[in-house]
């Protein structure tokens, strides 16, 4: 049974909520997000499963489990745009099942249930726009700064386990820009553009693949994309690994690039992937496909305590 009825790639910058009219491109992205909202309403789904690159974690993988987190959010960078009040509805049962499924696959994972926990900008923005009335509950999972491919694939598979166990159907969402380099100097909305030509070229390459539904190809290209079009703040560019692992690790999708525009220099794309019978391409993949996480290989050496160390090189 396929427990994911549709997948989305969505941007998470607050401009889309607070000032969409300031730039015609931002407005288009906002309108695409509004269409996603309408599409989701028509789907037969029980939950939104969200992986946010805007929520970093260090102690394994954190999964939001508080039933109704509520706060007024202000972005660290774009505080001048204003505040975003939010109240989310979380599928707490599924969140706990996800934690258990992750642990069963030997990942470090924990449920997060604290008053005042700072839900990240990306999750707040996406929830406000595509699920404004909380018609569907959500589950949000963090992005571990040190995690690499093996760990993230296993995290995606664990999400699938949890859905299967609870017999629930999900809309899978990754909240991430494509190229993530924003303007480092004050830039008026009217002057917005993708920060560099190289970022633009790699964004277009990824969009070409996604338009054809080639999710697994994009997943396999993530390391390259990280090198070419991402500011290296974390170990690697992970969201497509999680999404591909959750959705079945293939190219069997109908892809729809609903919009693509710059938002403050970064590449903001709204993309849907609908499971289909016809594979866009059937390539032979050369990356490994782990089912459980076997921990780091103690490359930094010395401690002899693998349970307390892990892989990847820097934040």
């Amino acid at each position: 049974m396929n427990n994911v009825v549709k997948g989305y790639v969505l941007p998470g910058l607050p401009h889309l909520v607070l000032t969409p009219d300031a730039n015609p491109g931002w407005k288009k992205v906002r309108q695409a997000m509004d269409r996603v909202r309408d599409e989701i309403t028509a789907l037969d789904a029980d939950v939104l499963m969200i992986y946010s690159t805007y929520w970093p974690s260090v102690i394994g993988h954190q999964i939001q489990a508080r039933p109704t987190p509520e706060w007024v959010h202000v972005d660290d960078e774009f505080h001048a745009l204003g505040s975003v009040p939010y109240k989310l509805k979380v599928d707490s049962e599924l969140a706990h099942a996800y934690v258990e499924a992750a642990k069963a696959r030997k990942l470090q994972a924990r449920a997060i249930d604290y008053h005042g926990f700072p839900i990240d900008t990306g999750s707040v923005v996406v929830s406000k726009l595509i699920n404004p009335q909380n018609k569907l509950p959500c589950v949000i999972v963090s992005s571990n700064v040190y995690a690499d491919r093996a760990e993230t694939l296993v995290l995606g598979k664990a999400a699938r386990d949890a859905l299967e166990k609870q017999g629930k159907k999900a809309v899978a969402v990754i909240v991430s820009s494509l190229s993530n380099r924003i303007h480092t100097q004050k830039t008026e909305p009217k002057d917005d553009h993708i920060h560099s030509l190289k970022d633009q070229e790699w964004n277009l390459k990824f969009l070409e693949f996604l338009k054809e539904g080639r999710l697994e190809d994009v997943s396999q290209l993530s390391r390259q994309f990280h090198k070419e079009a991402r500011v290296n703040k974390v170990a690697n560019f992970k969201p497509f690994w999680w999404l591909a692992a959750l959705m079945g690790q293939n190219n069997l999708y109908a892809g729809n690039v609903m919009e693509y525009q710059p938002i403050y220099g970064s590449g903001a794309a709204v993309i849907s992937l609908t499971p289909s019978d016809k594979a866009a391409r059937d390539l032979e993949f050369d990356e490994s496909d782990p089912d459980s996480y076997s921990g780091e290989r103690n490359v930094l050496g010395g401690t002899g305590e693998p349970a307390l160390t892990q892989e990847a090189l820097h934040e």
Partner: protein
């Protein structure tokens, strides 16, 4: 009004574990104990600062990260709860703090005049990051002085450490100039760890010290090298090797906090007082005080 002065600069790391282990009334989670070598280091720092008159703490925090230049807290009063997004089990802290907005604006202006991208943060709903809170709390738990809060610019990731350091040299100089013109006596806080590779799991009882040690020996050797330079008053050499240190020890100096502070202190040649060193979840942390009178 006399000329203002930076009276001390402190390397004041911000692991939330230290506040957790002290059990102040502001923090919701309660601990049995833990990380005493660093908490005692902060005790020695506080004893040292008790002999010093100052008006304001200026803190540069790795956990308020901005990529479009340097931002400054620009609201006079903040009251809320700060929940650490990474260690929410340890740090849910009710804060009530005052900001010296006037001084913040002066530094912001001076930095802009020197060509840096700057911005005042005027949103009253803004939540203060845990780096700022932990360093300020451990330095001055009474919270009886206003603070100036400065964001860390992500230029080390956007460009490289050399670009970031060039910016922090300017920011430090602008800070010194603004402080002198303000007539105030200030203490600077560089809120960062040294080596910074964490463990990604934590014991059932976070304060179970049988699990605490440095993440890897390479980090430890680098930390000792940096501390040795501090003790010998070799600030210029610190910034010279900081690019290598940051890369090879995954150090939190990628925030620019330490470079900013050493520049603001005009690269001291006198020895710093090392109040203590310890590890927190594998990272290396030192509490260090630069104060000319110590010479």
């Amino acid at each position: 009004m006399g000329k203002g002065k930076i009276v001390a600069g402190i390397l004041a790391p911000h692991p939330p574990h230290l506040v957790y282990a002290e059990n102040p009334p502001q923090n919701e989670p309660k601990a049995e104990c833990g990380w005493e070598s660093l908490r005692w280091a902060y005790e020695r720092l506080r004893r040292s600062l008790s002999t010093l008159e100052y008006d304001v703490l200026i803190v540069h925090s790795p956990h308020w990260r901005t990529n479009s230049g340097t931002h400054f807290l620009g609201v006079p009063h903040f009251k809320s709860i700060s929940v650490d997004p990474v260690f929410p089990n340890l740090f849910r802290y009710h804060y009530d703090l005052k900001v010296d907005v006037d001084l913040a604006e002066k530094i912001c202006q001076a930095a802009a005049q020197d060509g840096l991208e700057t911005q005042m943060m005027r949103n009253k709903d803004f939540r203060i990051d845990y780096g700022t809170i932990v360093s300020c709390h451990l330095t001055n738990p009474e919270w009886n002085k206003p603070i100036v809060g400065i964001s860390s610019c992500g230029a080390a990731r956007y460009f490289n450490m050399d670009v970031l350091q060039a910016m922090m040299f300017k920011l430090g100089k602008a800070t010194r100039k603004a402080v002198e013109e303000s007539g105030k006596r200030v203490v600077l806080l560089s809120s960062n760890s040294l080596s910074h590779r964490h463990f990604t799991s934590e014991p059932e009882l976070p304060e179970d010290m049988s699990h605490e040690h440095i993440n890897n020996h390479n980090q430890y050797i680098w930390d000792m090298k940096m501390i040795d330079l501090m003790k010998r008053g070799r600030s210029k050499e610190i910034v010279d090797v900081l690019t290598d240190f940051t890369e090879q020890a995954t150090a939190e100096t990628d925030s620019g906090s330490l470079t900013w502070m050493l520049s603001a202190l005009d690269f001291p040649t006198y020895p710093a007082e090392v109040h203590g060193y310890g590890t927190v979840i594998g990272t290396g942390n030192a509490v260090v005080e630069w104060r000319e009178a110590n010479v």
